[in-house]
């Protein structure tokens, strides 16, 4: 069997009294691509954000690359260094140029010399096809360009795992395509990816498995082909019929 890179064991998460994740169990293998879908408020963001400790879980174990994510987040920086994250709202740093956005964490977190960090940044900006924007500020770029810059920024830390939380939901159709292309390239390069997305076309081309969530629970988790052809649960069927319309 292939190597487990992320493990969830009976994970529970509460926001105050609200039970947001209920007994979550699943594994992600190295190099695997997982797409998570489900209705709004079902806990997709919460789940993905527990992986790198942007949310704390209260119960159960999360293990990333053999490191237990402590419930107190004591060791979280070790875990985070290996995980890149891309957000719906891009979250680029508006006071820095695109190049500096990318070089900042490598220089200060990984202590790579600035020159070298900028070279690495430039390489990744080329990969996401916006190297000519390197010296602009985020506010001067289109949404699609900003999201690609954000992907480059995460990749500059050479992560083992990439998390995407609805990376294309804030974009127009035209820009969605350019971002998805980059993500497909990344998948082909063998990156382990966990993607929250409603882009079912993307899921079909890229995902190894698809997770369907509802009401804080994993309702269904299946190989992509089976997921789309043979959904078992009624809620999954309903959801798919709505979204594939």
């Amino acid at each position: 069997m292939s190597e487990k890179i992320i493990e969830f064991r009976k994970v529970n998460k509460y926001y105050g009294k609200f039970h947001a994740l209920k007994d979550i169990n699943f594994n992600v293998n190295k190099g695997e691509k997982i797409v998570i879908c489900g209705p709004s408020g079902s806990g997709k963001s919460t789940l993905i954000r527990c992986i790198n400790g942007l949310e704390q879980h209260q119960d159960g174990d999360i293990i990333v690359q053999g490191n237990v994510v402590e419930k107190t987040l004591k060791n979280i920086e070790v875990v985070r260094k290996e995980i890149g994250m891309v957000f719906q709202q891009f979250n680029l740093f508006p006071h820095l140029t695109i190049l500096d956005n990318c070089a900042l964490a490598p220089t200060w977190v990984k202590k790579i010399p600035k020159k070298k960090a900028e070279e690495i940044a430039m390489e990744h900006l080329k990969m996401v096809k916006i190297s000519e924007q390197a010296n602009k500020f985020p506010g001067q770029l289109s949404g699609g360009q900003q999201q690609r810059a954000a992907i480059a920024r995460a990749l500059c830390m050479s992560p083992q795992i990439m998390l995407f939380d609805e990376p294309t939901s804030a974009l127009d159709a035209e820009m969605i395509k350019e971002v998805l292309e980059i993500m497909i390239d990344l998948a082909k390069a063998g990156m382990t990816m966990v993607v929250v997305s409603h882009e079912m076309g993307f899921a079909k081309t890229v995902a190894d498995r698809v997770i369907f969530m509802d009401d804080g629970k994993i309702v269904e988790i299946k190989k992509t082909k089976e997921f789309f052809e043979n959904p078992e649960n009624e809620r999954t069927k309903l959801f798919l019929s709505q979204i594939l319309k």
């Binding site: 790198n52 400790g53 942007l54 920086e77 985070r80 260094k81 995980i83 890149g84 994250m85 957000f87 709202q89 979250n91 680029l92 740093f93 508006p94 006071h95 900042l104 964490a105 200060w108 977190v109 990984k110 500020f137 506010g139 001067q140 954000a150 920024r153 995460a154 830390m157 998390l163």
Partner: protein, 350 residues
């Protein structure tokens, strides 16, 4: 063409409707009534030449007063032969600040570093003495130079402290959060005069016997702590204006608390509140005269002293006008500088 433009301007700005016209006319009338009188007093009938009050025979202002007392107004009772030490300090300060206008952005951090960490030491040794320079007691310091010293000290002390307090107030650690909260609310809740009195008079009572902290230093620290509470609240406003996503992006890149704050959060938060910070510093600058209450004489204090000198009685107006102009001038420069910064940052971003 020119006249056409002027006409248009007047119409738009002063006479756009009958009530605006009325207000404009009233204001212009009073201006014409008062301004010539003021000019007569301040310039045409004023006396500029001479060395004594008796040289001022006209009905106008007696600027001789300012001229004779000039050195005292600027340097206080600092020994005449050592004035170069103060001058040199200020020259270094002004030189470094001007330099920052001409060099590349990435070197500016070194200038800041110099101004915050190295310059204060140089200036302290120069002005106070040591390393072969004769010691000059702080009670001999005074005048405008003391105003500057207090303001500068206040800024470089209050700014970092204020930032830490602002961070502390939003900390997740219970003790740090409540300590910061209490600290800020305590200092914001008492008047500056009380702080100055307490620092000068009450504080020494609590010191162990034999330990003696310079009065000026006590007062300066008191003022700086007082202002830091205001800076903290201003900076907190900036911190609150940042979206949560900025924190999350920084965290997801593996940054810990300090890196996240110093590389990502504070640069944005501080830029967002430059006007508020400038305001606080201008207030600090203009509050320094209060130290007169504990016998320390900065610019205004020196004027007070000079005008009650038996040879120079009755020249308060000239003195206060001089002080007013100086305070206005430097406050104005500070405010322009901050507008400059704001513009620069906003053009940088969009």
């Amino acid at each position: 063409m020119q006249i056409e433009n002027i006409k248009n301007w007047l119409k738009i700005n002063l006479f756009s409707s009958w009530y605006y016209s009325l207000i404009s006319i009233i204001i212009i009338y009073y201006f014409l009534l008062i301004f010539p009188k003021f000019l007569d007093w301040a310039v045409f009938n004023a006396t500029f030449i001479g060395n004594e009050k008796s040289d001022c025979k006209s009905s106008g202002a007696c600027w001789v007063f300012i001229k004779v007392w000039f050195n005292k107004l600027i340097y206080g009772f600092y020994p005449e032969k050592d004035l170069w030490r103060i001058n040199l300090s200020f020259f270094i300060l002004i030189f470094t600040i001007s330099l920052s206008f001409f060099i590349k952005d990435k070197f500016k951090i070194y200038i800041l570093f110099f101004l915050i960490l190295i310059f204060p030491i140089i200036a302290f040794v120069l002005i106070k003495g040591g390393f072969g320079l004769e010691y000059i007691e702080t009670r001999e310091w005074g005048g405008l130079s003391l105003t500057f010293i207090l303001t500068f000290f206040g800024i470089i002390f209050a700014f970092p402290l204020g930032i830490l307090l602002a961070l502390g107030r939003r900390s997740e650690l219970f003790f740090i959060r409540y300590f910061s909260l209490l600290f800020i609310e305590f200092w914001r809740g008492i008047p500056l005069i009380t702080v100055i009195f307490a620092a000068a008079i009450m504080f020494p009572i609590f010191l162990p016997q034999g330990l003696n902290v310079d009065k000026l230093l006590r007062v300066a620290v008191g003022i700086a702590i007082f202002e830091s509470a205001y800076i903290a609240e201003v900076v907190r406003g900036g911190l609150q204006s940042l979206p949560k996503g900025q924190y999350e992006a920084a965290k997801s890149l593996g940054m810990g608390y300090w890196k996240m704050n110093f590389l990502v959060i504070l640069p944005q938060a501080i830029k967002a509140v430059i006007p508020g910070i400038t305001n606080t510093f201008i207030a600090l600058f203009k509050d320094t005269p209060l130290i007169i209450l504990v016998g320390l004489l900065e610019l205004l204090g020196m004027v007070n002293l000079a005008k009650s000198n038996s040879y120079w009685l009755g020249l308060a107006v000239e003195g206060y006008l001089f002080v007013g102009i100086i305070f206005w001038f430097f406050s104005f420069i500070l405010s322009r500088y901050s507008q400059n910064l704001e513009k620069k940052f906003s053009s940088e971003r969009y």
